[in-house]
């Protein structure tokens, strides 16, 4: 319990750091972006938009620390200001529409990729110099070297445009109403398949190599020799002795990679016009919708922190050495 609390404490500090970073970025950037933006907008900007801008940045004449406290108070009550491009929609509401899709697509792809890569990595190391170990690492290292979004473009070109197997854009067909029906669910899966596949292809190699190397390390230790000498079945040695230990370092990097993969899947969303946070983020960047952009950054960061916390809990559960008790 103490370990859980100490991890929770760390993530609270990290969340506070992210909040502060989010507060400081627009204020510390060279040439005061609010003024620049107001200048850019002046021709077309309605007074409401300027007001939204000021509200979003909490830009008042108050001293910095007062602005900071205001900002923290607003964020904690869920108030992220108003979007400029979709004025007067609230930033929180805009993000909420995208977050579901990102968590669905990115989360499922990430977990699948980790599960597939880790399992294959364990098997590749177990059957050293088998075909799995000869073929998979180089092939996947090559496929992992392509940018995510480029793989997405290629996939869209081949399976979408040329072969016509996959839908071209969006998360579901526009003529369907989002309801809890089987038809709609199938449509969503159909739309998500190709984006998810490109994310998996781009990331599975990393998990495979990491697990394979960790496995080779564990397989060389005396605990495996002892397990073999005891005459245990290969299955028990592979999973309960080797993989069970080798997965621990991989799990730690899983936490670290959540942010990286999520960032990469943002780019995939853009290629597929998938209505998630990545698509929103790039719309915000292109329309210079700074409040929305900052809100998205904060939301994505907090989602990654939450995922990392879950991974830490899993590590605590799987590794008795991290549990402080006698």
């Amino acid at each position: 319990m103490r370990a859980v609390l100490s991890r929770l404490g760390f993530y609270l500090i990290a969340a506070w750091a992210a909040l502060t970073l989010n507060f400081l970025i627009p204020r510390l950037m060279p040439g005061d972006p609010t003024t620049i933006m107001a200048g850019r907008l002046s021709a077309s900007a309605s007074p409401e938009a300027i007001a939204a801008l000021n509200e979003a940045f909490g830009k008042t004449d108050a001293p910095l620390h007062a602005q900071y406290l205001d900002y923290l108070g607003n964020v904690l009550t869920g108030d992220l200001g108003r979007s400029i491009s979709q004025y007067p929609a609230r930033v929180g509401d805009v993000i909420a529409t995208g977050l579901v899709w990102t968590l669905g697509l990115g989360g499922v792809a990430l977990v699948l990729s980790f599960a597939i890569g880790t399992t294959l990595g364990a098997l590749a190391a177990w059957r050293r110099s088998g075909w799995l170990d000869a073929v998979l690492p180089p092939v996947l290292a090559l496929s992992g070297a392509f940018p995510y979004f480029w793989l997405a473009m290629l996939g869209l070109h081949l399976f979408g445009f040329t072969l016509g197997w996959a839908p071209l854009r969006h998360a579901y067909c526009s003529h369907l109403e989002p309801t809890w029906s089987l038809r709609f669910a199938l449509d969503v899966v159909q739309h998500a398949a190709l984006p998810a596949l490109t994310i998996i292809i781009a990331t599975v190699g990393g998990w495979l190599l990491g697990m394979r190397n960790a496995m080779l390390g564990v397989l060389g230790t005396e605990q495996i020799t002892l397990a073999r000498a005891k005459g245990l079945s290969s299955r028990r040695i592979l999973w309960a002795y080797a993989a069970r230990n080798a997965i621990l370092p991989n799990l730690t990097s899983f936490g670290m990679a959540v942010g990286f993969v999520l960032g990469g899947s943002l780019l995939t969303e853009i290629v597929f016009s998938y209505p998630g946070t990545g698509y929103l983020l790039i719309q915000a960047v292109r329309t210079q919708d700074y409040p929305l952009m900052q809100g998205l950054f904060l939301t994505i960061t907090l989602a990654v922190l939450a995922a990392n916390f879950l991974v830490d809990l899993a590590t605590l559960a799987l590794d008795p050495r991290t549990r402080p008790h006698a």
Binding site: Y148, M153, Q223, R244, L262, V285
Partner: protein, 831 residues
């Protein structure tokens, strides 16, 4: 972790992956240099938009009518420059933060680690997108943004490495030499991180390449520039996909992937060079020697339980085991002695067929119960293992699975092999634990919650699970404290009597084997030189090597020699009064450690000039703490240290280290593998002797000669790994003498050396004390070696001095019970 610099780069150059990777990178470097020169106007329209590949435009044209080939080749420079620049900045930033945190530890570490861990969990790409959106697009802002979002991971890696290196003895040795921290980091720590830096640089460059292309694809780069990322941005913007113009984006993506893949190849090759386990197979060591007669035991009183005939194990060209034959008789203890690399452990593994058979060839026969183990199929082998022959491995911590409880590791073999159900297996496991002297609650304990001795007992319990006929014990107590060692051995002797076990006991400790075994075999270079009944071997060893080994172990009686002449006339050199030290806390995960036992408690003693004082105690008794306090690597909580009457704790560190020097336990750890012998000796000469540069070589040579290393000039140019263990320890001694100290602290200086070299080094220490009037504090757990050279002996237990007196009287008439226990453990009597 890499130890040797040049061999490392050489093996990297010899690796096919590395060669392919480096070749691709060089090709792209050439393109990056000449591409923009040849295609100066790559961005200018030259034809009709979105035309497929043709003779005029090999890779077709873009939506704006630009030539795709020209854009791709011209884009290499801008892309690679930013990627490699980010790689360099991130590596430097990570190294500075990580090494600072790891080296200094404590509060500095906590603050820096917290900072980098926070940065690590904040997703990099979204942060980079937000930052880039505010900055004016261009290469400089890309580098800044990507470096800021990517440094944290590498700081973490560097910190971990610095934490391990910080604990290396050569870092402590440099501190004791009197070096400043900055110089220790630059001259001792960083040279051992070159491979890590290379890996960090490559990893960061791969990350930067991907992230940069991503940012530019989003339109956050300089859209007027020609780079791979902007090429892809325009491809998406000009509806290349909608029109099916695959040639616009495919070439750029392939180039990015080729560079990324080449970098990954180099990184994998680097990994394999630095981590030998990842390579296809490990090579066994042990050399070959001229043929020697193996004494075969012809008289067999009873049917052997296990009969080994002409066993040979060959790894490539080296013979780890070379024609060994012996028979194990029912109920006996057969000792197998030999120094490391003699092949004795390989025999133990061969008896269970645990050797990696794809890496070595095993010939001969191992007959057990009428069947040849080497000829068994997988099924028969599984039945043979553990039921007929079981084994206790050397390092219990490595042999136990850290994520399973002791009970799990006992019951799994009972259930899988003994055919018991869960309840029966648990009951039997409890019985086994009781058998080896453990409590029922230890069934639920994880290995890290048990002490070293308890873990070894668990391993023994596991070995006994299926009631094997033969038990192989492979150095079962080497990693343990002498007192615990004795408890375990007494237990083994009892188990053998109670269970009628037949035991093959493998150890480098010949006196131990002589005390414990019925018969003893001596191995060297893969051959069994001699095998005979213990009493016979002790009195009439035939092989010269056996006689040499027997002679190398000093007896416990102090040799007759002149005492330190007018003892009272010699001035007191070291005066320690009431010295105490208590450690608090520990690492974040080490809360199971009991709350701060004092490591040293109220220690007081004197040491005179020219006197050798032995400080004896089991591990954990506070010996090493005392050494760290005397060398001022740490400060005491209470007490005073006076040297020639001056307060040593008030002196400047450098003045203190001029008078007090130290020789560390492990000469393989206390010399920096990345620096030559000359470096190790020259630094203290410069710091303390102010020797000018032109005289350095002469002084280094003189020092090497003084410790018996010739030819001095040639040895000074060598790296530590080019020296033998004995030579290394002499270099370490020469380094300590370079400052011309008054007091020399020697921490187990011979424990890592082969028995035959110990006596020489001890004699050298004693001679130096006599000739130079040097005070020597010899720290050891080994009473016999203390007896060999010490004038006086101090016995330390749990941080307290429990006995003090002249060597002869402490050894022959110990007053304290603990001293008697130590003596008994060292003599192996009554096992």
């Amino acid at each position: 972790m890499r130890e040797h610099d040049r061999s490392f780069w050489r093996s990297l150059g010899g690796d096919a992956k590395a060669r392919v990777g480096i070749g691709v990178l060089v090709a792209f470097a050439v393109i990056a240099v000449i591409g923009p020169l040849v295609f100066a106007d790559a961005a200018a329209p030259v034809g009709r938009p979105l035309q497929g590949p043709s003779w005029d435009h090999w890779l077709g044209t873009t939506g704006q009518g630009q030539d795709v080939l020209a854009l791709t080749l011209a884009g290499a420079r801008g892309t690679l420059l930013v990627a490699f620049a980010v790689g360099a900045v991130v590596t430097a930033l990570g190294a500075v933060v990580g090494v600072t945190a790891g080296y200094f530890g404590g509060r500095v570490d906590r603050a820096l680690s917290l900072g980098s861990n926070v940065f690590l969990v904040i997703p990099g790409l979204p942060l980079a997108i937000v930052l880039a959106a505010y900055l004016r697009p261009g290469p400089a802002s890309l580098i800044a943004v990507l470096a800021l979002s990517g440094w944290a991971w590498h700081a973490r890696v560097f910190r971990a490495q610095a934490l391990t290196l910080r604990r290396r003895d050569y870092v402590a040795a440099a501190q004791v030499t009197g070096e400043r921290h900055a110089r220790v980091i630059v001259a001792e720590v960083l040279p051992n991180m070159t491979s890590l830096m290379a890996a960090a640089f490559i990893g960061a460059t791969v990350y930067a390449l991907g992230a940069m292309v991503g940012l530019e694809f989003l339109g956050l780069g300089d859209l007027g520039a020609v780079t791979w990322g902007t090429n892809l941005y325009w491809a998406a913007n000009d509806a290349a996909l909608l029109t099916g113009s695959w040639w616009v984006f495919v070439p750029t993506g392939v180039c990015i992937a080729l560079v990324g893949f080449a970098l990954t190849l180099v990184n994998v090759a680097l990994d394999e060079v630095t981590n030998p386990r990842l390579r296809k197979r490990a090579r066994g060591q042990a050399g070959t020697e001229t043929e020697t007669e193996t004494e075969s035991e012809s008289e067999s009183e009873s049917e052997p339980v296990l009969d080994v005939r002409d066993l040979r194990v060959q790894y490539g060209a080296t013979r780890a085991v070379d024609g060994v034959s012996f028979a194990l008789r029912e109920g006996e203890i057969l000792g197998l002695a030999g120094e490391s690399g003699s092949g004795k452990s390989t025999i133990g593994y061969a008896l269970l067929r645990l050797l990696d058979e794809s890496a070595c060839t095993v010939t001969g026969a191992i007959v057990c119960g009428g069947k040849d183990v080497l000829a068994m199929d997988a099924r028969a082998l599984r039945a043979h293992r553990w039921a007929e022959v079981a084994m206790v491995f050397q390092a219990a911590l490595d042999a136990l699975n850290p994520v399973l409880t002791a009970g799990d590791q006992l019951t799994d073999v009972l259930r899988a092999r003994g055919g018991l159900d869960r309840a029966a297996a648990e009951a039997r496991a409890l019985e086994l634990l009781r058998h080896v002297g453990l409590e029922p609650q230890h069934l639920r304990a994880y290995p890290h919650q048990l002490s070293g001795g308890m873990r070894q007992r668990v391993v023994i319990a596991i070995a006994l699970a299926l009631q094997p006929r033969v038990l192989i014990l492979d150095e079962p107590t080497t990693a343990l404290d002498v007192i615990v060692q004795r408890e375990i051995l007494t237990h083994v002797a009892r188990l053998r009597r109670e269970l009628g076990l037949t035991i093959l006991f493998i150890s480098h400790d010949l006196p131990l084997l002589l005390a414990l075994s019925d018969r003893v075999g001596v191995m060297r270079h893969g051959k069994l030189l001699e095998l005979g009944a213990t009493a016979h071997l002790r009195a009439h060893a035939e092989h010269p090597y056996t006689r040499q080994l027997l002679a190398a172990f000093p007896s416990l009686a102090p040799p007759a020699r002149s005492p330190l002449e007018p003892a009272a006339a010699r001035p007191t050199l070291l005066e320690v009064r009431g010295l105490s030290k208590r450690y608090v806390g520990g690492s974040r995960f080490a809360r199971r450690a009991p709350p701060a036992l004092p490591a040293l408690c109220d220690a007081s003693f004197d040491l005179r000039e020219g006197e050798v004082v032995a400080l004896v105690g089991a591990s954990g008794s506070g010996k090493s703490t005392l050494a760290r306090l005397l060398t001022r690597i740490e400060r005491p909580d209470h007490g005073t240290i006076r040297i020639s009457g001056d307060d040593a704790l008030a002196a400047s560190p450098r003045a203190h280290h001029r008078r007090v020097q130290m020789v560390f336990q492990d000469p393989f750890a206390s010399l920096n593998p990345a620096r030559r012998v000359r470096h190790h000796l020259a630094r203290p000469l410069i710091l303390h002797g102010h020797v000018p540069a032109h005289a350095l070589d002469d002084r280094v040579g003189a020092l090497l000669s003084a410790v018996g290393l010739e030819p001095a000039a040639e040895l000074a140019r060598r790296f530590p790994h080019e020296l033998s263990g004995g030579q290394r320890q002499r270099v370490a001694l020469a380094r300590a003498l370079a400052a011309d100290p008054r007091l020399l602290i020697a921490d187990e200086p011979t424990s890592m050396l082969d028995a035959s070299l110990r006596a020489d080094l001890m004699a050298l220490l004693r001679r130096l004390a006599r000739e130079r009037g040097l005070g020597v504090l010899l720290i050891t757990h080994d009473l016999p070696s203390a007896a060999a050279i010490a004038d006086r002996v101090l016995v330390l237990r749990a941080g307290r001095v429990v006995e003090e007196g002249p060597a002869a009287s402490v050894l022959t008439a110990p007053a304290h019970a603990y001293t008697r226990a130590l003596l008994a453990a060292a003599s192996h009597e009554a096992l």
